[in-house]
Every structure is written in structure tokens, then in C-alpha cells.
Amino acid sequence: MLDNLIHAALIMTTPILLAALGGLINRTGGIVNIGLDSMMLFGAMTALIVAADNGSWLLALAVAGGTGAFIGGLMSLVITRLKANEIIVGLGFSIVATGLARFILKSTYGVSGTLRLPDVTRLPVIDIPGVADVPVLGAMLSGHNVLTWFAWGMVPAAAWFLVRTRAGLRLRATGAGEKAARSLGLRPLAIRDASTLFAGFMAGLAGAYLSIGLVGIFNEGITAGRGFIALAAFYFGRNHPVMTALGALLFGFFDALQIRLQGRGFPPELVQTLPYVMVIVILAMLAWSAKKRNGART
């Protein structure tokens, strides 16, 4: 029971974590990416289409990430060059993406809602012999697919990038003070665009995880708002990769938990709000403890 819960929690965490890390880098550079969900949706669709046409999951991931990055690039240009409001543009992209996905399904495949394709190559699952049978540890480490490993690998990588590299420093400088960054000879708009490309890439991978990692089909509702939950995760983490991962894990855990609490006498409508309620509770507790600490200092 516990093993299953841990395993399911990690599965539900992966897409949120991938998109949240992308959004975190994007926000550090100064753009709040509301359009993550649209990039996730198209990543999911293109991954399935490519994975059905040939046997390479790596190519499918590359195309999914590339599609996400392309949409991210478009969105970024509208924001950085045309000075459009990032919230409105991001929401616009999410709405347009849903309509466009529906149109493509209908015009190209003659279906609506769900797209099933024959012989979809799925993401490989890594089973670790020996560890797989160890309680708890096996559920945590074994039986996850390549993207889950990649997502968790990106957590320290992102932390290292932001703190230890020149590019990370420049990204932070761009986000913190555009004019100051420019006075140092940096090109803040280009840096911002690059950070959105990365966010799009990560969101595209998150979509691929849903379509060719988990279910092997595409549905126009497949993201189920996970791009927006990713947004909550990096806000929760205050742009720190480890805390953001913790936020994503909280959502994943309570999502897996609510599925298992149903049918044990708890009303389903209430149980389903659990992930969201818990995040609000934890955010409030964090803010309260931070306030208390600050209060003690002054």
C-alpha cells in the first residue's frame, strides 16, 4: 500500500516538476509563464504522433521539447518585443492551444477528443534489479521512466546553474533589474527569450511524459491544468529548485493519496480538493513562520 502510494506520487509529480523547473528558470529571467499548459499540450500531441510513426522515443522527446520551445519562443517574442502583458498572452496561448489541438485532431485525423495511434513507442521504464524488491526504496527508485529520472536530475542541475554559472548569474541579473543588466552590456530581452525557450522545452517534455510515458494516447484535456499547477509549484518554491521540487512532490503526493482515500468513506468532492487545500495550508504556514522569524529578528 505504502509502496504503491510512493510510486504513484512520483508518477504524478514528474509532469508538474518538469514544467515547474522550466517555469522557474523563466521567472528568474523575469517572465511569469502562464502559457506552460499550452506548451505541455502540444508536446503531448507531437510526442504521440512522432512516437507512432517510428520507433525512436528519443526523437519523439526531441520533437515534443522542440515544439514546446517553439511555442515558448513565439510567446516570448510577443512579450519581450511587442511589450504585451505576460499574463494575458500566456492565457491567450493556453486558450488558442486547446482550440488548435482540437482542430488538428479533427482535420488531420478525423477524430474529436481522443487520439489513438497504432504502435506507439513508449518511454522506456528503468527497473533496477535488486533494488526493485526492497520496500519503499524500490518504489522510489525502480520502475520509473527516463523522464522521471531526467526531471529529478534537473533539480540540482538548475540549482547549480543559477548559483554557480556565469549564465545563471546573468539570468538572475536580468530578472532582478533589466536596466542594470543592460548597463553591464547584457541583452536582457534575448536572455529572457532564451529562458522562455527552455521553459517551453521542459513543458513539452512534461506533455510527452503524459502521452507516451503514461497512457499511450492523446486527449485534448490530457494536461488537465497541470501547467497551471506547475506555476503554483514554482511560486511555492520561491524560485528555488529544491523547494519547487518539494512543491511539485506535494501535489503529486496528495493527488496519489486522494485517489486512494476515495471509497473509504470520505466524500469524493472533498477528497479531490485535498492537494489544493494542503498547498494553501502549507503556504500559509511557511509565510507565518517566515513572518515570525523576521519579527523575532527586528
Partner: protein, 337 residues
């Protein structure tokens, strides 16, 4: 018109008037090409129109829900004699529009609309679900079948906690308990009809806790349930259309709603002049409006006596010996709160 008025004025009974005005079918959300509800209904529509020698047209609109009244008025003005509406959310608008077009007959599927010239068609989904539950309860202890364990546990995943969905679930539970009172039925709701990965996770959680057959009543989310059954080597039960082919050998059966049968019958009744405005037509097992799929890929796995028992139950329901609980009409039974 004049002759009818005269005939009724004279008080003579006239033979049912055969109608020959063209008929329209208003396509619901999702549109044609959905490989389920709309396509199925349209197939029945075309059969009915052809059999009756009428002309018929399918009406598609990109904003079926918001423009309900417009679509209905335009169709009424275009001179259709029968306007058959597949969109569930049109119950209110159709009742308003129908008042302004007393010479046109309207029909709506899956819901009831009030009006002297409106025919409502309802499916007795609880009856088909009863058979699905019975079959699942019989099979779930048959551990000689690969993917089935000895535990008497089955599951059902609904798309939302509502009477429309619980109608299926109550029938399923009743059928399961009538087959084997020891069977435990796990019930869960996804609260989302289009998230297959959630459906997959929910089904996996049920499989982990000993269930081996899970009935899905959750649209696109339910496709994830079928995927989970295929990937874990267990069984799902499909809904609405024949979903047995989605994961060959892992969909035990599908509870089929024959929207095509309902639409075809309504068109034919209209052509014969036997369609009565203000009536509610029920399509259950007796009318072939609901039922189990032919089980193309699983028939050979299931012991013949189980299939015979399900057939006997079907006959019992049609004869009225078995009453299946209808949550929409009767509210919730004691055994399901």
C-alpha cells in the same frame, strides 16, 4: 392542415398521418467524427431516413451549447418537420423554441424537455450496467482466467458524482450483488471527463487493492482506465460504444448505449405518424437501446454458464421480474449513499 382540422372538428378518428417533411439532426458537442456518440447517432439517423424515404440533414455548429436557440430557430425556419437534438444541454432552449413552432416536432435525447410537440428519449443505462456488474461479479473469482485473482473485488470509476453517472453505478452494483452478494464494489470518481492519466492512476490504485475488473463511466478519462487494464494485464469494462477493440482481450465487455437505435426509431415513428409530442420514450434492454457488446475478444475466456446467467438476467429484466434501481427516478437506494 385543413383536413386535419375538419377531421378533428367532426370528431372522427383519422389514421395516423404519415409525414414527409425533411428531418434534421442537431449534432452535439464533439461533433461528427467523435467515433462514439455523434457518429453512432448519425448512423442511425441515416438508416432511419433512408428506410422512411425522407430527406435528412445533419446540422453541425461550432458553438452548439451557447447558440442553442439560434440553431434551433434556424432549423425550424428552414422547414424541417422533425428536429432531433442530440445535445443534452438543449433541454431548456428546445422547450422555449418549440412553443413558437407548434407545427414542427422536436425530439431530444438523454434528457426530458417539456412541451406538447417535444419527444424525449431516455436510455435505461442502469439495465445494461446491471448486466455488466453481474458479468464482472461472476468473472472476478474465476482465477483460472489470466489477470483475474480470487478476491471478490471489482471496481467502477465515474466521471463525476452526479445522478446521471450514479445511474450507471447503482445498476452495476445491484447486478454484481445479485450475482454474488460477497462481491465488494469499489467506487471512485475522477471529477474530470478528459484526463486519461488520472483515469489510469485511479484504475491502477483499484487493481493494487485487489480489484481485477473496473467499469469506466468517465469519457476520455475512462480511456486511461482501459489503458491501465491493458498495461497491468487486468480487465476494464467499456461504456457508450463498443470499446472492446481498444485493448483487445482486456476489455471484458462494453455497456453499449444504442443512440443509433433510438434515433432510427424516432425518425421511423415520425414518418409513420406514430410519434406523439409530449411523450417520453424509454430505450432499455427490451428496445435494444442498451446492452452488452458482442464480446468479440473475450467471449472465449468467459465460462459459458456465466454468459447464460447474464442472458437469463436480461430476460428477467425485460419480463419485469428483475427491477433495476434507477437513481434518476428513484433517488439513491439504501445500499448506495
Amino acid at each position: 392542415m385543413a383536413t386535419t382540422a375538419l377531421a378533428s372538428a367532426l370528431g372522427t378518428t383519422t389514421a395516423a398521418q404519415a409525414a414527409d417533411a425533411p428531418v434534421a439532426l442537431i449534432i452535439a458537442q464533439g461533433g461528427l467524427g467523435d467515433q462514439s456518440y455523434n457518429d453512432l447517432a448519425n448512423a442511425g439517423f441515416e438508416r432511419g431516413v433512408e428506410a422512411a424515404g425522407l430527406t435528412g440533414r445533419a446540422v453541425e455548429s461550432k458553438d452548439v451549447v451557447a447558440q442553442a436557440s439560434d440553431i434551433l430557430r434556424r432549423a425550424s425556419d428552414a422547414g424541417f418537420g422533425l428536429i432531433l437534438d442530440l445535445e443534452y444541454s438543449h433541454a431548456q432552449p428546445i422547450a422555449e423554441v418549440a412553443k413558437d413552432y407548434p407545427d414542427t416536432t422536436f425530439a431530444i435525447v438523454n434528457t426530458v424537455a417539456e412541451g406538447d410537440n417535444i419527444v424525449s428519449a431516455l436510455f435505461e443505462e442502469q439495465q445494461g450496467s446491471y448486466l455488466a456488474g453481474m458479468l464482472a461479479a461472476l468473472v472476478t473469482t474465476q482465477d483460472s482466467i489470466e489477470g483475474i485473482n480470487a478476491d471478490p473485488i471489482i471496481g467502477v470509476i465515474g466521471g463525476s458524482k452526479s445522478v446521471g453517472i450514479d445511474k450507471f453505478i447503482a445498476g452495476y452494483i445491484q447486478g454484481a450483488h445479485d450475482a454474488n452478494p460477497e462481491v465488494q464494489v469499489k467506487v471512485a470518481y475522477s471529477n474530470n471527463f478528459a484526463d486519461p492519466s488520472l483515469g489510469q492512476q485511479m484504475a491502477n490504485a483499484m487493481f493494487e487493492s485487489g480489484a481485477d475488473i473496473v467499469y469506466q463511466v468517465a469519457g476520455g478519462t475512462g480511456i486511461g482506465v482501459i489503458q491501465a487494464a491493458e498495461q497491468s494485464g487486468h480487465f476494464a469494462i467499456g461504456v457508450d460504444g463498443d470499446q472492446d477493440g481498444l485493448a483487445k482481450g482486456h476489455v471484458l465487455t462494453s455497456m453499449i448505449k444504442r443512440t443509433d437505435v433510438a434515433v432510427e426509431n424516432i425518425v421511423k415513428a415520425y414518418a409513420d405518424g406514430t410519434l406523439k409530442g409530449g411523450s417520453v420514450l424509454g430505450f432499455g434492454l427490451a428496445e435494444d437501446g442498451v446492452g452488452l457488446s458482442p464480446m468479440t475478444y473475450t467471449k472465449d475466456l468467459i465460462p459459458a454458464e456465466f454468459l447464460a446467467q447474464v442472458d437469463a438476467a436480461k430476460a428477467g429484466i425485460i419480463a419485469g421480474d428483475i427491477k433495476v434501481w434507477n437513481v434518476v427516478d428513484q433517488g439513491y437506494p439504501d445500499w448506495m449513499q
